[in-house]
């Protein structure tokens, strides 16, 4: 029996779909340069056409056809040699569009396998987000901002070949750097990309992550029902309507919080989250009315709070809010929990407002906010930033 390898790419729906596909295809074709055979495919239960949805793409490679068949006998591999995360905000956990709960990004990484993240953060910072587990693994970073390379409106920033170079360094048995370069030369026909892949190969290092190191958060586990325990007629029980909730200061009930489906936590879709200034909120209701996911709770004060277990991070609330800096979208990597902002505001108003000022300082200037969409010229603006990151690393 020959050798069998599996690589998974975790990416954000639509923006990174082509990038992920290009990388898994690149793995198979580069390995084919050295005589290996492989397949490349996306996880079928995903919906990668949807904005920001966490999704997966795979490459299965083997030294011979019979071993490859062994890898193909199971559609989605339980264990992979390498996990690549193409957006560091995904490190908080991912949930597929048709899946049963949030899962850690390192769930399928083999013991001793490598987790590669494209990020500008350090390994220590990322380990605050990545869940801890029993088995050790390696963590390596390909320096860069979350790329949409390969998408038609976004120019190619070489993230595809840089990741391939990193993979060749992490697991040369899967594919050698020589084969990666041969693939780029023969198929992509781009000498500059060869250089990018080689530079990424030379620079890539990975640190050991010990058992128990990482984010201590415990993710819920869901039991799937047996057929005889399920309701008849494809009917599922709805959620109760919801109602008022308690003000921690006065202990009185007020406001309104709908009951939400705790088995479908869409927040893994989020790359930015709204930070609300409850002091300046005029209770105009616009955010509550316009939120496409109904993720705002009416607090007992009558202000509006984005419930972070339900918010997808689309940014419509920020766009629609008429008060300056009352709702500000801030990059998700700054936060380590989904706790209620309103509760911490009620506990310590001064402290909360101080935290708010510091937190929203990192957000883009009001004139540059894109509300989830890229704006014309953004790529050109990001080139110097990307160059600086590349030179530093």
């Amino acid at each position: 029996m020959g050798q069998l390898f599996a690589v998974e790419l975790i990416y954000r729906g639509i923006f990174q779909k082509t990038l992920a596909k290009n990388i898994t295809r690149g793995i198979v074709l580069a390995a084919h340069e050295e005589g290996k055979r492989g397949i490349s495919f996306g996880r079928y239960s995903d919906s990668p056409e949807r904005n920001g949805i966490p999704a997966k793409s795979f490459a299965i490679v083997a030294t011979d056809e019979e071993t490859l068949q062994l890898g193909m006998a199971h559609y989605e591999p339980d264990q992979v040699d390498i996990t690549v995360v193409l957006d560091d905000t995904l490190c908080k956990g991912i949930e597929s569009w048709a899946w049963d709960g949030v899962r850690p990004v390192n769930r399928a990484t083999k013991p001793g396998g490598t987790l590669i993240v494209t990020s500008t953060q350090s390994a220590d910072e990322l380990l605050k987000l990545i869940h801890r587990r029993e088995q050790p693994y390696k963590l390596g970073i390909v320096k860069g901002i979350a790329s949409s390379s390969g998408m038609w409106v976004y120019k190619n920033d070489h993230t595809d070949v840089r990741v391939l170079g990193a993979i060749a360094k992490a697991l040369p048995e899967l594919v050698s750097q020589k084969s990666v370069e041969a693939y780029i030369k023969n198929k992509l026909k781009d000498e500059l990309k060869v250089t990018s892949a080689r530079t990424a190969y030379d620079r890539f290092t990975a640190v050991e992550v010990k058992p128990g190191q990482g984010n201590p958060e415990k993710l819920p586990h869901y039991e799937l029902l047996k057929w005889e325990d399920m309701a008849l007629g494809v009917a599922i029980k709805g959620q109760p309507q919801g109602g008022p909730y308690e003000d921690p200061a006065t202990k009185k009930l007020g406001g309104f919080r709908p009951v939400r489906n705790d088995k479908f936590q869409k927040y893994t879709t989020r790359t930015d989250r709204p930070v609300v200034n409850f002091q300046t909120c005029t209770k105009c209701t616009l955010c509550w009315l316009n939120c496409p996911d109904g993720s705002f709770d009416v607090t007992p004060d009558g202000t509006y709070e984005a419930n972070l277990a339900a918010c997808c991070g689309c940014g419509i609330c920020e766009a629609i809010c008429p008060v300056k800096n009352c709702i500000t979208m801030v990059n998700e990597s700054q936060f380590h929990d989904n706790e209620s902002q309103w509760l911490s505001f009620k506990k310590d108003k001064g402290g909360y407002l101080e935290w708010l000022e510091a937190t929203i300082a990192s957000a883009p200037k009001e004139s540059e906010r894109t509300h989830g969409f890229r704006y014309r010229g953004q790529y050109q603006e990001q080139v110097p930033q990307a160059l600086e990151i590349a030179q530093k690393s």
Partner: protein, 411 residues
């Protein structure tokens, strides 16, 4: 999956290029090589991979055809039906409920002798809304004169698409063919595929010539008038005749395919895997051959004599040949990725069909057990197959087993 029937070194001489493409994309490439004239599309997963890729080929100037995005599956199949009557080589396809929405057109296509080739990206029928593979969508037309073929690999998908055109457009038959690909496992997995040259395809596939059935101002005919009981039975008898003839035409086409392209598919109707000295065999269609072949190899290593027969053509169902190939085994286990609710012994479609063929043609009557599994895209795992084999060996040793069982079910 992707077991090569010809060594790679030999193939290099014959094939133009190798590409990393999905099963659906392989069919789009076959359509390009077959120089299809009219393509109609309407999106539904998993069939849509083929229309996306084909529209890209058209946009890139690699393929020249009328690419019509219809407003529903019903229109989609209606348009190609008419185009084919006018002498155009046509392609369309759908999945699951989309295929069912075209049902009105699907029923009339065989009696009009339209050589349509359609891809069915197999998908569970709603409800519940699901994307995964189940074979009941394509099987819904099994009694209507449609020919149904299931393939296993992207390479076989490309080859079979070419075979389908040659077969469907044979003047002795003129029949529609539905080429089935398991959703996800085949439609969405990119594998290395050898793409034949245009010269080879031209040699294999002659021009579609509808002869005196051509709907054209120079050939004045009227197609499908209303008629009464004086006519219907005779028309049905014509379709009956053609399905009888189809098996022999298929054999010819496969023999020619081997001659032109050099790839051997052996028996057109089914593929045997490690059956030579087998005591029991598994029987099924589509991509489940991947876990089954892995399990068979593993069990063989333990000394268990197991084989596998993968059915390719469900219609025409080569009953006598299949029964002859199976009747010397001590027990047969069918894996049905479909349901046939209310059928005798509540078995699946394939098992019910096989038992019927065995009753008539088999010299001995080994027990035919049925295992319902892999519905809605669930994987048939290697462990599932090993369990099936264990139960089947019990039956082979004379210990009666339930005729239908569910495998891989929670509960």
């Amino acid at each position: 999956m992707a077991t090569l029937t010809v060594p790679v070194t030999e193939q290099k001489k014959t094939y133009e290029q190798e590409a990393l493409i999905t099963g659906a994309e392989a069919i789009a490439v076959a359509c390009k090589l077959a120089n299809v004239d009219v393509v109609t599309a309407y999106p539904i997963r998993p069939y849509d991979t083929v229309m996306q890729y084909m529209s890209q080929l058209v946009a890139d100037g690699e393929m020249d055809c009328e690419f019509i995005v219809a407003e529903s599956e019903n229109s989609q199949f209606e348009i190609v039906k008419h185009a084919s009557a006018c002498g155009a080589r046509v392609f369309c396809g759908s999945s699951g409920i989309g295929w069912m929405y075209a049902m009105e057109v699907l029923t009339v296509t065989p009696s009009l002798r339209i050589p349509m080739v359609a891809l069915v990206g197999n998908r569970a029928l709603d409800d519940p809304g699901a994307f995964g593979v189940e074979h009941n969508d394509a099987l819904a037309v099994r009694d209507l004169g449609w020919n149904l073929v299931w393939v296993d690999t992207a390479q076989e998908a490309l080859d079979t698409a070419l075979i389908c055109y040659r077969f469907a457009e044979d003047r002795r038959i003129f029949v529609p063919v539905a080429l089935s690909c398991d959703g996800a496992f085949l439609t969405h997995s990119q594998a290395l595929v050898n793409i034949p040259t245009l010269e080879q395809v031209k040699k294999f596939l002659p021009r579609y010539d509808r002869g005196d059935l051509l709907l054209h101002p120079d050939n004045v005919i009227s197609v499908a008038p209303q008629c009464n009981e004086d006519w219907v039975m005779e028309i049905r008898r014509q379709n009956y005749e053609v399905t009888e003839r189809a098996c022999n035409v298929l054999k010819e086409v496969y023999a020619d395919f081997e001659r032109v392209f050099g790839r051997k598919y052996g028996n057109p109707f089914f593929e045997e895997y490690m059956t030579d000295d087998a005591e029991i065999v598994l029987f099924g269609m589509g991509t489940l051959s991947t876990p089954v072949q892995v399990a068979v190899r593993r069990l063989r290593a333990q000394g268990k004599k197991v084989g596998f027969v993968r059915l390719r053509w469900f219609r025409p169902f080569a009953g006598a040949e299949i029964a002859k190939a199976l009747d010397h085994f001590r027990a047969i286990a069918v894996i049905d990725r479909d349901l046939c609710l209310g059928s005798p012994d509540l078995s699946g479609v394939v098992a019910t069909e096989l038992r019927s063929a065995m009753y008539t043609h088999a010299k001995t009557r080994p027990p035919v057990l049925d295992f319902i599994g892999g519905l809605g895209g669930r994987e048939v795992t290697v462990a599932d197959v090993e369990k099936i084999v264990e139960i089947t060996f019990q039956a082979a040793r004379g210990k009666p087993q339930p005729l239908t069982q569910w495998i891989g079910l929670r509960g």
